[in-house]
């Protein structure tokens, strides 16, 4: 599904990602762990195609096609989607209007989908204006439900969300990733950034990666890595950097 090779990324004059290699197969969900500022969000924004993130070396291949030089909308149209941790507030633009724009000619039942994530009362509200943490995430999930990407990136879907909402959001994300389907039939893939790991109660994940200082340092079983980090922090990862 997604193949990243020797990726180097600059923001401004500074290289922030170094030599990233990542392979996510069809139906797989991977977890990205790492301390604050290690480059996790940067990697997601780069994969999405945000113009501030300039690829200086390497390539991103999605479903067999090199998308390295493509704009964000071309990547989105090919099936890449992202749940943002802090999406912008857009004055005047109603959530319902955006959902209609995203759905294009598809005949989605927007009010019904909105109701399923308790966002039906927000369709006439300006996007993210005065939304609580949980409402922002539910709005993001709702947009993704209509966009229906094959590869879903989730940037801290549980941050700022209370327990009740985590269950709602977790279940909705599980369904975006076709977690209810048999593993053999599952076609959607995902990449999740989490600090707490709460979201992993709702998503079976296949592989974990730890980022430190703009590099992917190690890989392994996501729950084991998380357990390790919870016990010992990122100290060993940082030491890893020095070796």
């Amino acid at each position: 599904m997604l193949h990243i090779e020797d990726l180097h990324v600059k923001v401004g004059d500074k290289e922030v990602l170094h030599d990233i290699n990542l392979h996510i197969g069809e139906g797989e969900t991977h977890v990205l762990l790492g301390p604050n500022g290690s480059g996790k969000t940067t990697l997601l924004m780069t994969i999405m195609g945000f113009s501030n993130y300039v690829i200086t070396e390497g390539k991103i291949v999605f479903k067999g096609e090199d998308v390295t030089m493509m704009h964000a909308h071309e990547r989105a149209q090919r099936g890449i989607g992202m749940l943002f941790q802090r999406p912008p507030t857009i004055s005047g633009l109603k959530l319902g209007k955006l959902l209609t724009a995203i759905s294009k000619d598809k005949k989605e039942d927007i009010p019904k989908l909105a109701e399923s994530v308790h966002m039906d009362r927000f369709l006439e509200r300006d996007i993210n204006k005065g939304f609580s943490g949980g409402e922002i995430k539910r709005s993001e999930v709702l947009q993704l439900m209509i966009q229906n990407p094959d590869f879903v990136m989730l940037d801290e879907p549980e941050s700022g969300v209370d327990l009740e909402n985590i269950s709602l959001i977790g279940t909705a994300i599980g369904s975006l990733l076709e977690k209810e389907k048999h593993i053999v039939k599952r076609q959607k893939s995902g990449l999740v950034i989490t600090h707490t790991g709460y979201i992993l109660d709702y998503l079976e994940t296949d592989r974990g990666h730890v980022m430190c200082d703009g590099m992917i340092k190690c890989h392994g079983n996501p729950r084991e890595i998380l357990k390790d980090i919870k016990q010992r922090g990122y100290r060993e990862c940082l030491e890893c950097r020095q070796t």
Partner: protein, 371 residues
């Protein structure tokens, strides 16, 4: 079978231009019409009981007291424009009179059409008597090929009596050679509501206006909304003023301004003269291409207990917002248009749906051509 149209000598293209400024010659969703082409009054009628649409001249003949409403809130000596109109021996324009307790949900349309290179002058008087509710859409447009030198001088005097309401929605659809000088003022009595909406999405050479609402009565309300786009050759000097005199009076002045290279001067003044009054002024500007947006918000309080505020911001489209929408599959042009559409989307409380739809429709036309 197509509906009967108000007869006019207009070409199909010009009829389309009228439609874009909210004038429906088939009278769908309208309860009355006034149509003036250059200096010829083509049509004047109203089917709504209790509401009259009269020519200025006829109103003066019919009601002796009407002269007490002429040149009372706009001074004939105000400037060159008012002097020119006041000096006319054969005054044109309309009087819309909503008698006590009458109301219209379907608006009255007033169309001022400029077809020749000359000055079109009008003097309008709009009165909502006690408890009346009156909604008007004023579509001002010119033929596609009027050429240089066309100008429109329009005087409008509004009287909102006790417990009455007037909404006046003006959609300008001129061409880039036309100069427009509306001069209008209103007086609002106890519990009266005055809504004034202005939309100009199309090129114009020059517009200059600064309507004033004097909120004399207790708990009277005025809301001014302006939604404008300045094309590269447009010069728009716009403003609105509210004078808060009655106890509990409140005013809101809202502007959304976009320049594609032209000049927009966005003035605003709220004067709080009495305790218990409130006013808010808001101007948001977006510069899409190098031009000028000059916001001059003024708030002035004279007494303890008046609460006034303003916010003004001029900026550009945020790349972060555009790319956010692009990440949902919209291309750059779609994302930009969607954000601009949102920026211009001002919902006006108290406005009938038909009028809000008309405002939305004129923005839709601009959106279709990519703003």
């Amino acid at each position: 079978m197509p509906p009967d149209l108000i007869p006019t000598p207009l070409s199909k293209a010009d009829q389309e231009r009228l439609a874009q400024s909210g004038i429906d010659l088939a009278m769908r969703n309208r309860c009355g019409s006034y149509l003036q082409m250059d200096q010829d009054i083509v049509h004047s009628e109203c089917s709504q009981e209790g509401i009259e649409v009269l020519t200025y001249k006829k109103a003066m003949e019919k009601y002796d007291w009407m002269k007490d409403y002429a040149w009372k809130v706009v001074s004939p000596d105000k400037d060159e424009i008012t002097k020119y109109v006041a000096a006319q021996k054969d005054p044109k324009g309309y009087v819309i009179l909503a008698h006590k307790g009458s109301s219209n949900i379907l608006p009255i349309q007033a169309c001022l059409y400029l077809g020749r290179q000359q000055i079109q002058h009008v003097h309008n008087i709009i009165i909502a008597e006690e408890g009346a509710e009156l909604h008007i859409i004023s579509g001002c447009t010119s033929g596609a090929h009027v050429g240089k030198g066309g100008a429109h001088y329009g005087i409008s005097e509004f009287y909102v009596k006790k417990n009455a309401k007037i909404s006046f929605t003006m959609i300008h659809n001129w061409t880039e050679d036309i100069e427009v000088f509306p001069r209008s003022a209103s007086v609002v009595e106890e519990n009266g509501v005055f809504l004034s909406n202005y939309v100009c999405m199309q090129p114009v050479k020059k517009v200059q206006m600064y309507p004033t609402a004097t909120l004399k009565g207790e708990n009277s309300v005025a809301r001014f909304s302006s939604i404008v786009i300045a094309s590269p050759t447009s010069y728009m000097d716009l403003g609105s003023r509210a004078i808060l005199e009655g106890k509990g009076a409140s005013a809101e002045l809202i502007t959304r301004a976009i320049t594609k290279g032209g000049t927009i001067i966005s003035r605003g003044h709220i004067l709080g003269k009495t305790a218990g009054t409130r006013g808010h002024l808001e101007c948001k500007g977006l510069i899409l291409q190098d031009g000028r947006i000059y916001a001059i918000p003024e708030i002035e309080g004279n007494v303890v207990g008046t609460e006034l505020s303003h916010e003004a911001a001029v900026g550009k489209l945020a790349k972060e917002e555009i790319e956010y929408l692009m990440s949902r599959g919209l291309d750059e042009d779609e994302a930009t248009a969607t954000i601009i559409r949102g920026f211009l989307d001002v919902k006006i409380s108290g406005l009938p749906e038909a009028l809000q739809k008309q405002i939305d429709a004129s923005i839709d036309v601009a959106e279709k051509s990519g703003f």
